[in-house]
């Protein structure tokens, strides 16, 4: 409302009392106006200067034009105080009048007004008052719209008849008439001729995907080899286990079963195949009708062996098909005794025959005298030792001709003719042939001279009847004890002769280049060696002495044949001779040194050559057995049983066993003819061959018949002098039989005789 003339006042009770406007007494809500004289207010102002309630409005009061001032009681605190003072006349008038028209009571003036208005007013028409301009008409003028320009009026008329008349339309080409139409031709607006040089283009980036695959080689470690060794318990652990209780219990529970099983095996062999065993016997008995000894070849030489008897036959130990034959004169008994008077009519040789050349001997070994017996050295097949008829021992070395012997096959292909050297050996072949090896040309077989001959004074006085090589184990030195020298071994010979002696010979080393010359000088040879003779035993020549000389048993007996024991030998070459033979020797107790000797009178002596130093006489345990009435010509150990001996002599033969002293274990009955030779079979333990004086060979098979020969076969007309079997291969078994006429027959032993049956 904004009443600038209203001034709120606070009337204290004192003021109210003074001016008689005490609340709720003089002035009430309805009667809220109070007129106060101006002089009173000024009076109050003067008396109560600042304390007066009118003090704030003192100025207004003084300037008030009227006489009376209106003070209004503000019960509702309209203006903030309980009283307010109206400062202007007009407002006073308004206020006073207003309540006049309202239902409230008015003050003094109002009373007057009211009285006036409550009366009935006569109707007065409104009186025109002069209008007072307040400036509003200007505004109206401005806003009103007025015509600025005078409107022009036109009047158009037309003849009335033309209204509504029919109209005819005609066509007209618009282009004929100029300006009849208006066109807007299109034109290239320059504003639009800009070339688009740049254009925004959307691009999407996509990775280029390509599928690829590779194959890799996966190397993985793989076990190529494993090396392992077995776990073993230490000794303590073993001891501990052995003494543990568990082991005891185990053994008590187990040993019964084991013993039952062992016993079962002892009683019988449950897996023995009777049927198969039967079949084998069948095979052997089915071969009966075969001829037992097939004639394979026979060799004879007219030149050398005329009227001579073959004394000894030996197979070459290593080369196939080579057999050596020695011959001597046929002598009657009387002449044999007086051998010393005999003169050499013919050169005596040992012939080497080869299977492949039956006409010509391969090799000739020259002998000083007739050879009674000879042997190849078991350790070196090119050394041959022979015993002569005058008691000497001869050595040959054929190592130079070994190759020729081995190539004997080629010789048979052709023969070369030479004019000079050809003797009346019948050569009809004219084929030219060139020898592979050197040596003498022509058909003349090579003549090999002997390398060494024992000294005459130390040899036997009578013919050497038997000669054997001793196995390499032994060495008899002066002390006559047998030693076993493994590192330095020598090869030794044993010879026996009817002069009652058994001689042990020692062959010392051969390769002594330094000593050779000195030995040469020392020995003082009597005759020169031909240049092509190897000097293998040069140092022995003519001064070869036997190591030990033995006179077994009694003097009257004459030693005829000898057989030594067979002990497995070791191959060893000749070694150096050393005088100090006592080093590295150990005396052997275990090898038996017994031997058998057969005599001319038919006695068999079994004795031991290990002699004590003190006693030179024969040991008491030699034994002598007399069965044979005549000279024993063969005494041989069985190749299968070391203690079984076969002795052949006179009219009967016997089989002895070492240790059985009271007699032979088998003795044959007296046969019609004399048995002249005998030999065990090499492959069958129960078979042996006996040669007789009528040219028959008796084959004895002890498993079949023990009272008579299982088979006999006639070989030649004359007496059989020597039998020697040989196993060339598993299929070929030969038997070389020599007879009195100088013919050597080689026979092939058939299967049944050569292959042992089971468990023989």
């Amino acid at each position: 409302i904004g009443h600038p003339e209203i001034f709120p006042l606070v009337f204290t009770t004192k003021t109210q009392e003074i001016f008689n406007c005490r609340v709720d007494e003089d002035v009430t809500e309805e009667n809220c106006f109070k007129l106060i004289k101006k002089e009173d207010i000024i009076q109050d102002l003067k008396t109560r200067a600042t304390i007066s309630d009118f003090h704030p409005i003192k100025k207004v009061v003084l300037e008030y034009p009227g006489e009376e001032l209106l003070v209004v009681f503000d019960a509702k605190f309209q203006y903030g105080q309980n009283f307010y003072f109206v400062a202007s006349e007009e407002a006073k008038e308004n206020l006073l009048k207003r309540p006049e028209t309202a239902e409230e009571k008015e003050g003094e003036k109002e009373e007057e007004n009211r009285e006036e208005t409550l009366e009935i007013h006569p109707y007065k028409p409104p009186v025109h008052k002069p209008w007072v301009s307040l400036g509003s008409e200007k505004e109206v003028e401005e806003e009103s719209v007025k015509d600025t320009v005078i409107k022009i009026k036109y009047m158009i008329s037309r003849v009335r008849k033309k209204f509504g008349a029919p109209i005819t339309f005609t066509d007209k080409n618009a282009s004929h008439v100029k300006d009849s139409y208006f066109e807007c031709t299109s034109y290239q607006d320059k504003t639009f001729s800009i070339k688009i040089l740049e254009k925004d283009v959307g691009i999407q980036m996509v990775p280029k995907v390509k599928e690829a695959s590779t194959q890799t080689k996966w190397t993985y470690p793989k076990n190529a080899a494993t090396q392992y060794f077995p776990r073993q318990l230490s000794n303590e652990e073993k001891e501990e286990s052995l003494s543990s209780e568990k082991l005891k219990e185990f053994l008590t529970s187990v040993h019964l079963r084991m013993e039952i099983a062992l016993q079962q095996n002892e009683i019988m062999n449950a897996f023995f195949d009777d049927w198969k065993a039967l079949a084998e016997d069948e095979n052997s008995s089915g071969g009966k009708p075969d001829v037992y000894l097939k004639a394979y070849q026979s060799f004879t030489d007219l030149r050398y062996f005329k009227n001579r008897t073959i004394s000894c036959v030996c197979w070459h130990p290593t080369i196939y098909g080579i057999i050596a034959v020695s011959a001597r004169d046929q002598l009657s008994y009387k002449e044999q005794v007086n051998l010393s008077d005999k003169s050499l009519l013919q050169q005596s040789v040992i012939l080497f025959w080869s299977f492949f050349d039956s006409m010509h001997p391969q090799l000739l070994l020259e002998c000083p005298e007739d050879i009674f017996c000879f042997q190849f050295s078991p350790s070196d097949p090119s050394i041959i030792a022979g015993g002569c008829i005058n008691g000497q021992v001869v050595l040959w070395d054929i190592s130079q001709h070994e190759e020729k012997l081995q190539n004997a096959k080629t010789v048979a292909d052709g023969i070369k003719i030479t004019a000079v050297n050809t003797v009346n050996a019948s050569i009809l072949n004219i084929l030219q042939y060139i020898y592979m090896s050197g040596g003498k040309n022509g058909t003349e077989p090579t003549l090999v001279r002997y390398c060494a001959v024992s000294s005459i004074q130390y040899s036997h006085k009578k013919p050497v009847t038997d000669i054997h090589w001793l196995p390499d184990y032994f060495e008899d030195n002066q002390m006559a004890a047998t030693f076993d020298k493994r590192a330095e071994t020598r090869v030794q010979l044993v010879t026996c002769s009817p002069d009652c002696s058994v001689l042990f010979w020692n062959i010392p080393a051969t390769k002594l280049p330094e000593q050779l010359s000195s030995e040469k000088v020392r020995e003082g040879e009597i005759f020169d060696m031909p240049p092509d003779v190897p000097d293998t035993f040069k140092h022995l020549n003519l001064c070869w002495k036997p190591l030990v000389k033995m006179y077994p048993y009694c003097f009257p007996e004459k030693v005829q044949s000898l057989n030594t024991l067979e002990v497995p030998t070791k191959e060893s070459p000749y070694t150096e001779m050393s005088n100090s033979s006592s080093k590295n020797l150990k005396v052997l107790q275990s090898i038996s040194t017994d031997f058998f000797v057969g005599t001319e009178d038919g006695e068999i002596i079994y004795s031991d050559w290990k002699m004590e130093i003190e006693s030179d006489s024969a040991k008491p345990h030699t034994q002598k057995d007399t069965i044979h009435t005549e000279t024993i010509n063969t005494l041989q150990r069985s190749p299968f049983f070391k203690d079984i001996i076969l002795s052949v002599g006179g009219r009967n033969f016997a089989i002895w066993k070492e240790g059985v002293t009271n007699g032979p274990i088998l003795q044959s009955s007296c046969s019609a003819g004399r048995n002249t030779a005998g030999h065990w079979s090499l492959t069958r333990p129960g078979v042996f061959f006996i040669g007789r004086d009528d040219g028959n060979i008796d084959i004895w098979d002890l498993l079949k018949k023990t009272h008579e020969p299982s088979h006999f076969q006639n070989i030649s007309e004359s007496m059989i002098t020597f039998i020697s079997p040989w196993t060339a291969s598993s299929k070929q078994h030969f038997l070389a039989v020599s007879d009195d006429l100088g013919v050597l027959h080689v026979l092939e032993i058939c299967q049944t005789l050569s292959h042992p049956s089971r468990n023989e």
Binding site: P230, R231, Q232, L233, K238, S241, L242, S243, K246, L247, K248, F250, L251, T252, S253, V254, H255, R257, M258, E259, A261, L262, Q263, N265, E266, I267, M268, N269, F271, F272, N759
Partner: protein, 95 residues
């Protein structure tokens, strides 16, 4: 001890070539042969015995191996198995 006696008795049977006692792992405890042969026999026979025992038990779980005999051309090998030990005897049959 008794152990020695029993083993000697077994060894003294006719034809017996060798006797061996082997523990459960195949390590020989007592033998009459040389070491390398023993070790070889022990290893091989131990495995074979295990195999034989498992065969027997596979067929019938109530059953168990009591004795194993291997007959060869040259001799017969006999194995007596137990929970912890094996007794191996090699014998040449009667002929």
């Amino acid at each position: 001890a008794e152990v020695e006696e029993t083993l000697k008795r077994i060894q003294a049977h006719r034809g017996v070539v060798a006797t061996m006692v082997v523990n459960a792992e195949g390590i020989p405890i007592r033998t009459t042969l040389d070491n390398s042969t023993t070790v070889q026999y022990a290893g091989l026979l131990h495995q074979l015995t295990m195999k034989a025992r498992s065969t027997v038990r596979d067929i019938d779980p109530q059953n168990d191996l009591t004795f194993l005999r291997i007959r060869s051309k040259k001799h017969e090998i006999m194995v007596a198995p137990d929970k912890e030990y094996l007794l191996i005897v090699i014998q040449n049959p009667c002929e």
